[in-house]
């Protein structure tokens, strides 16, 4: 663990929906270029934590610091501009558009020409389109979905849509990638393929990844840092081995009474 400041740090985050405590006082840090897994039983607050990180929910207390700038009120748009991209538990793709359009939309923050130039197809627009298109095609090639480039997303099978959503997230060249159960509902072969993609992403582009995953096997060989949540509280934080032997974690999973 290199000593310089972590890319992402959560300090005493807590969040509640009208009285129901979703997250209570969680803090942990994620280093640059690390794959960190959030695990824990259903309803442990994993998705809500992810939503807090990327500004969909605003925490009641606590501070998020990203890229050594701290925010108490992170807005979704702000997170995107900072370079945080994510995928959703139940796929949030633009069903009416083609795969290529979805990936190109992922790059909307990188577009330099404005709509007027694009309308008249003049000024910066033509060159801008070519550079955006090349970047998008590279991600499509990277995730091997170029055969479905022009098919409408709504018509694609579930596994493929998961890959397209990852492609859209990668297209924005994020510094931090949040994956909400990327392998849910996949068979083993698809899981292996998706893990390979995640590993390549981290190696190839140096992206820091925070993912939520239930399959402990995948988590153990994929991530270098594991955080375990239970009933909105952090019960484990460290390397996969440390966490495996942590009594509290075992208790949380085996369901002994607190």
């Amino acid at each position: 663990m290199t000593a310089h400041a972590p890319l992402l740090e959560l300090q005493h985050i807590s969040l509640s929906f009208k009285g129901i405590k979703a997250i209570t006082d969680i803090s942990f840090a994620v280093q640059q270029g690390e794959i960190c897994a959030l695990i824990g039983p259903n309803g442990a607050g994993k998705s809500s934590l992810l939503n807090v990180i990327n500004g969909v929910y605003q925490p009641d207390e606590g501070v998020i610091s990203f890229n050594s700038k701290s925010y108490s009120r992170m807005k979704a748009h702000q997170a995107a501009v900072q370079g945080i991209a994510r995928t959703f538990q139940n796929i949030a793709l633009f069903k009416g558009m083609s795969v290529l359009d979805n990936v190109l939309t992922g790059r909307n923050l990188k577009v330099r020409s404005n709509w007027l130039e694009q309308m008249l197809n003049s000024g910066r627009a033509p060159a801008d389109y070519v550079s955006q298109r090349i970047k998008a095609e590279e991600v499509i090639d990277f995730l091997r979905i170029n055969q479905w480039r022009n098919s409408i997303v709504g018509t694609l099978p579930y596994g493929l849509q998961k890959r397209v959503e990852l492609a859209r997230a990668l297209a924005s060249e994020p510094r931090l990638l949040l994956l909400d159960e990327p392998m849910a509902g996949m068979n083993n072969e698809e899981k292996a393929e998706m893990s390979a993609f995640i590993l390549d992403t981290q190696r190839e582009f140096g992206t820091t990844v925070v993912l939520i995953e239930h399959d402990i096997g995948v988590v153990m060989n994929l991530s270098g840092h594991v955080v375990v949540l239970d009933y909105g509280k952090k019960v484990g934080d460290g390397t996969p081995d440390e966490v495996r032997h942590n009594p509290e974690v075992i208790a949380a999973y085996l369901g002994t009474k607190h």
Binding site: A92, L93, F94, M97, V111, Q118
Partner: protein, 355 residues
């Protein structure tokens, strides 16, 4: 099936951006344009130009305007007639109050005024979604018709609030003849359809569709929701404004605020439902359908069953047919005629194979 497409491939991304990939498609489009711009004005008689082609073009333009807002950006609106009214009255006033103002400039400025109004009535769309947006656009609809009848200044203190078209002069040519008005409408429509096509295939079009399909996801990936929605309202109202101006000047010649009432907004909404939401061609097909069906029905009945079905009953019959068609399309093909045409085209492309 009809033409062979193999052998035509793109070696550059610019080529990939073109509207028609195949040269045959470009030729078909070119022949349509020649037919529309050259042949029709020559052979078209008054009835065809005045009563069918000009309203068809203006309504397809209005359909395009609403399609950009509802079909692409997903913001439902029942106030399109109000923006048409603003466009018509603004153009009339620009033409009247500024001496020697060329018609095309006043048309453009009329569109801009309507765009301004569009943005104002689009502001609530940021806070409220779905049905409730209807209220904001309905408020626009009733308020605009009221303000135009109320303040005499808009209709140059005409006793009955009616504005009459100024003599139409473009580049020194008097184009008040039916063919002249037809060509004015056609060229304005052509330009606006071309620009709209470029927008929709560009970044803004994608942002609209993103906001339409899932606005929470759009916000998360960094799309500025505020700016995208307001641009949708502005551009849509701009096109509607110009359509309204053409409706008043090129088609009827005189118009009153009640000419742009709620049933006009319903008519435009039906155009894009039947024609096809979210498709540029859809506005054309829908407008053609809405304009041609009643005329076809009344002509058929006039020639064949003139005897026992009196025109009044026919009007009711036509209302029922329209309503039934709306329901039919929503059930069978929510994306309207454009989607049907697309399916036929896809099936023809792989003919004789099945998929």
């Amino acid at each position: 099936m009809l033409y062979r497409e193999s052998g035509q491939f793109n070696t550059s991304y610019r080529a990939d951006q073109r509207w028609f990939r195949l040269w045959q498609q470009r030729w078909v489009f070119a022949t349509w344009m020649i037919l529309a711009f050259v042949v029709v004005p020559l052979i078209g008689n008054d009835y065809w130009l005045n009563a069918i082609l000009i309203p068809f073009l203006v309504l397809s333009l209005a359909g395009l305007g609403l399609n950009l807002l509802t079909g692409y950006a997903g913001q439902i609106s029942l106030g399109s007639a109000a923006f048409m009214a603003i466009g018509a009255f603004a153009t009339y006033n620009f033409q009247l109050r500024i001496e020697g103002m060329p018609l095309l400039i006043s048309l453009f400025l009329g569109g801009l005024t309507a765009a301004g109004a569009g943005v104002v009535f689009g502001l609530p769309s940021l806070r409220i979604k779905g049905f409730y947006l209807l209220v904001s656009t309905l408020a626009a609809q009733f308020f605009v018709t009221w303000i135009l009848t109320q303040c005499g200044w808009f209709s140059n203190y005409n006793a009955s609030g009616v504005i009459t078209a100024p003599p139409l002069v473009v580049l020194g040519q008097n184009i008040s003849s039916p063919a002249g008005r037809y060509l004015l409408t056609l060229s304005v429509a052509f330009v606006l359809f071309w620009l709209a096509r470029n927008i929709v295939h560009g970044e803004l079009g994608r942002r609209w569709m993103a906001v339409r399909d899932m606005d929470t996801a759009a916000a998360v990936i960094g799309i500025p929701i505020l700016q995208t929605k307001l641009l949708a309202f502005a551009i849509s109202s701009f096109v509607l404004g110009i359509a309204g101006a053409l409706w008043a000047f090129a088609y009827l010649g005189t118009v009153e605020p009640h000419g742009f009432d709620l049933s006009r907004s319903f008519q435009i909404l039906f155009i894009i439902i039947i024609g096809g939401m979210g498709s540029i061609l859809g506005s054309f097909l829908g407008a053609a359908f809405i304009v041609l069906l009643p005329i076809l029905l009344s002509n058929l009945s006039a020639t064949f069953l003139a005897g026992w079905v009196d025109p009044g009953q026919l009007e009711n019959l036509q209302k029922i047919i329209f309503g039934a068609l709306i329901i039919f399309f929503l059930i069978k093909e929510p994306q309207g005629l454009a989607r049907l045409l697309e399916i036929v085209r896809q099936r023809a492309r792989v003919w004789p194979l099945r998929f």
